[in-house]
Amino acid sequence: MTLTQQAEAPRTAAAVEGRRRAPVRLGTTGIIYLALVAILVIGTVLVAADGDNLLAERNIVDMLTRSSVLGFIAIGQTLVILCRSLDLSVGYVAALSSLVGATTMDGDPARVPLGIAAALGVAAAVGLVNGLVITKLKVNAFIATLGVALIIRGYLDTEYKGPAGSVPDSFQNFGYTRIGVVPLSTAVMLAVAVAGIVLLRRTRTGYRMFAVGGNDEVARLSGLRTDRTVIVAHVLCSMTAGAAGLLLASRFSTGVAAQIYSAGYDLDSIAAVVLGGTLLMGGRGGIAGTIAGVLILAVLDTVFRLLQIDPFFRDVLRGAIIIVAVALYARRQIDRHAVRARFGKHGRAAGGQDAPRPVIPEARA
């Protein structure tokens, strides 16, 4: 860039500089994985001080197993949150599909595919309802999915007083088989996560989700069918919740209701998504971060279990960690909008900033 150009358009200088620097900069996702590593290290030290080994095989298996169910749900939750929506019905959808799957399979190995299809189909239908209520009836997503959740809960509580259906041994493998230390269910979850990442980064559907969540009106004026995008996100979200329900059914070897829907997957999944750096207001984030968020929660739970921390106090710690993490993101967000400090504590005289400064300070992350 020549000097004359610099004089004419000083701001472009900062942008070019930013472009050059971009690859070196650690993205939000990178920071979250660093946090995950930090928590693993701290957890290992704490557990070691207690005379145990966090990185022992059984503990790693425990962490990965914990992360698979929440992982499925959080992947779907990421999609809807990116669209500036929300799904509070995921726990109930998981419960419903565990029952639908288990009763359809009814212990018959030949009916496993049918059971999977039925469970995912029912889940997709619920997602469709969620999406339609939100986009066509213009009901706030919070209320819409809460209402649908209550409807499902009422249905489950009247129809199924206890466990129902039976899962054949072959399908129980889904819950218990391991490849090395990696449970099959975690591997499947990660495969779904990769599919989700491809969806968001390399398909028009994914691009539309970012656009709709970022600014609905901009998306509309660019010719996107915004309603359809939100509906697709909700259908996919419910289907991942359905997959989680199937996984739980295979672990319980039967379909259950209250045990699943009272496990708090709805709020945990939102916590994982937000921990993973996705904006609750939509438009920015991604599944890679969400998986880190899920893993962070799983590591915490395993560490708490090994340290035999009182379950109630465990919730206090979890809550505090989530709040602190999100507060830190919020700071980053604020800093981004602020003009970078130009002068030191005592002004230029003492600060001695002689190095050439950009003509216009550009706020950078």
Binding site: P10, R11, Y207, G214, V218, S222, G223, R342, I360, E362
Partner: protein
């Protein structure tokens, strides 16, 4: 008439009413290929409505629009876009968290085997920018990290990528500082050279005369005239728009107004953003703060008002040291700040005019609220906001009237020092005049005024003294009424020195 002269777009007899109120009355407008055509008029004259009809957002009640000789009916913005009519709206239509390329190709990303071809999309975007001679904007840059001017450029390039033959721009420079406008000028001229018709709406007369070939003046929904720019003077233009002449545009100080004692004294103040700031403002004085975007003008306002306080130095108000650490303390001390972005920082848009006008009183000065609130109806009517409009939600008001509500809110607090940050941004000539008159009246009452503006003519016309900022420091002081070049030299001096090095 040659083919080149025949209009690309012809709108004839276009009328539009909203809720029984006619906002456009049988408007005729012609756009020729390769011209920049200004559309001017006060707020409420119908400019935005006309643009939205052209963009396919609204449908006309009557009238014919023909494009390249054949009649068109746009039902949706997309149809207009596909027909080659693109609009850069006043509100930004970009996704800040997405890259430039993702914004330009939103909704029509190139694909290969079902997946978005990111590499090609980036390449195509870079090619678009290169083709239009724009440098310094990378396809993979997040829009958020671009300057406002660059974002405007991205929007225009996005519009161009639809193979636009007509581009209309609604106040593209409203949020730009003077030096950023040049980027937009260059791009607009490139478009003109390509044979594209540009419809240019702006409140800045300078731009209209710098850039536009023809001017159409709207007043109260009707076309006053369409004329070649060369055949009209700024003075005539303003008169035709509002029936007033520009020479009386900046009101003189009221008779009997004179400078009183020092009310605001800042000495050696600074924080992270500004340094070594010293100045005084007397009762009845208007001090202007000039400088390029990012030079620290707004930061001084924020520091005075306790948003990001000074961390060193001293501020005295009527002789007493004050150091507000929050806007709340600043208000109590007798300061008022009219922020530069009224929609975000100045108003509760979905509340009524009255509720907004009472906001600061109720929130910060509840003790005095009852007494001072009695003055609010008077303040509103003195600003020509009728009592009837008191219950209306602020978001339905025009920009000028919204700004008046912001002013009313602060006048109700009876401040000793008023800081006005871009007080006339995006408001029409009539409302500007009202703001200027109000400033004169406040001066006569002994209020000390600090005025920040990117529009130099208004600073030169209104301020008694002008402080020029550069890079967070005061680079010089000038008397009011100097010429623009003197200010620009101070504002840019160190920068040109660097460039020369």
């Amino acid at each position: 008439m040659t083919a080149a002269d025949s209009p690309l777009l012809r709108m004839s007899g276009v009328s539009k009413s909203f809720f029984g109120v006619e906002v456009l009355h049988s408007v005729d407008l012609e756009l020729r290929a390769g011209e920049v055509h200004a559309l001017v008029g006060e707020n409420g004259a119908g400019k935005s409505t006309l643009m939205k009809i052209l963009a396919g957002v609204h449908r006309p009640d009557a009238g014919v629009i023909s494009l390249g000789g054949s009649e068109v009916h746009f039902e949706h913005p997309l149809q207009a876009q596909h027909a080659g009519v693109s609009t850069v709206f006043q509100e930004f239509n970009l996704l800040p968290e997405r890259t430039v390329a993702e914004n330009v190709y939103l909704g029509r990303e190139p694909r290969r085997r079902g997946l978005v071809d990111v590499a090609r999309m980036d390449r195509d975007t870079e090619a678009l920018f290169d083709d239009l001679g724009v440098s310094g904007i990378g396809a993979r840059t997040r829009v958020r990290s671009l300057s406002v001017a660059q974002q405007q450029v991205v929007e225009i390039v996005k519009a161009m990528s639809y193979d636009a033959r007509i581009i209309s721009m609604d106040e593209p420079t409203a949020a730009l500082a003077e030096h950023e406008v040049e980027l937009l000028y260059r791009l607009t001229r490139t478009l003109r050279a390509r044979g594209i018709a540009v419809l240019y709406v702006s409140h800045r007369l300078k731009e209209i005369f710098d850039l536009c070939d023809r001017i159409t003046i709207l007043k109260d929904g009707s076309v006053v005239t369409t004329t070649e720019t060369a055949r009209i003077t700024p003075d005539e233009l303003v008169r035709k728009m509002v029936g007033r002449s520009i020479s009386t545009f900046f009101p003189d100080p009221l008779p009997g107004a004179e400078l009183g004692p020092v009310r605001l004294a800042v000495s050696g103040a600074g924080n992270d953003y500004v340094d070594d700031i010293s100045f005084e403002v007397r009762a009845g004085e208007i001090v202007g703060l000039a400088g390029l975007q990012g030079s620290g003008r707004t930061e001084i306002a924020h520091a005075l008002f306790g948003v990001a306080p000074f961390t060193r130095g001293e501020v005295r108000l009527d002789g007493k040291p004050v150091s507000p650490t929050s806007p709340r303390e600043a208000v109590r001390a007798g300061l008022a700040l009219v922020t530069e972005d009224r929609k975000v920082e100045g108003l509760a848009l979905n509340q009524s005019v009255l509720a907004n006008a009472r906001l600061v009183l109720d929130a910060v000065l509840p003790g005095a609220a009852g007494k001072r609130a009695k003055a609010i109806p008077g303040i509103l009517s003195s600003l020509e906001l009728t009592a009837r409009s008191g219950a209306r939600e602020v978001r339905y008001l025009s920009g000028g009237n919204q700004q008046k509500v912001v002013l009313a809110k602060w006048l109700a607090t009876e401040p000793a020092v008023m800081v006005l940050d871009e007080p006339t941004r995006g408001i029409d000539v009539g409302a500007k005049r009202a703001v200027y008159e109000l400033m004169r009246e406040l001066s006569a009452r002994g209020v000390a005024i600090v005025m920040i503006s990117s529009e130099l003519p208004e600073l030169l016309g209104m301020a008694d003294r002008i402080l020029v900022l550069h890079d967070g420091e005061i680079s010089g002081e000038l008397p009011g009424g100097v010429d623009e070049e003197a200010v620009m030299t101070l504002a840019a001096r160190p920068m040109t020195a660097e460039a020369a090095r």
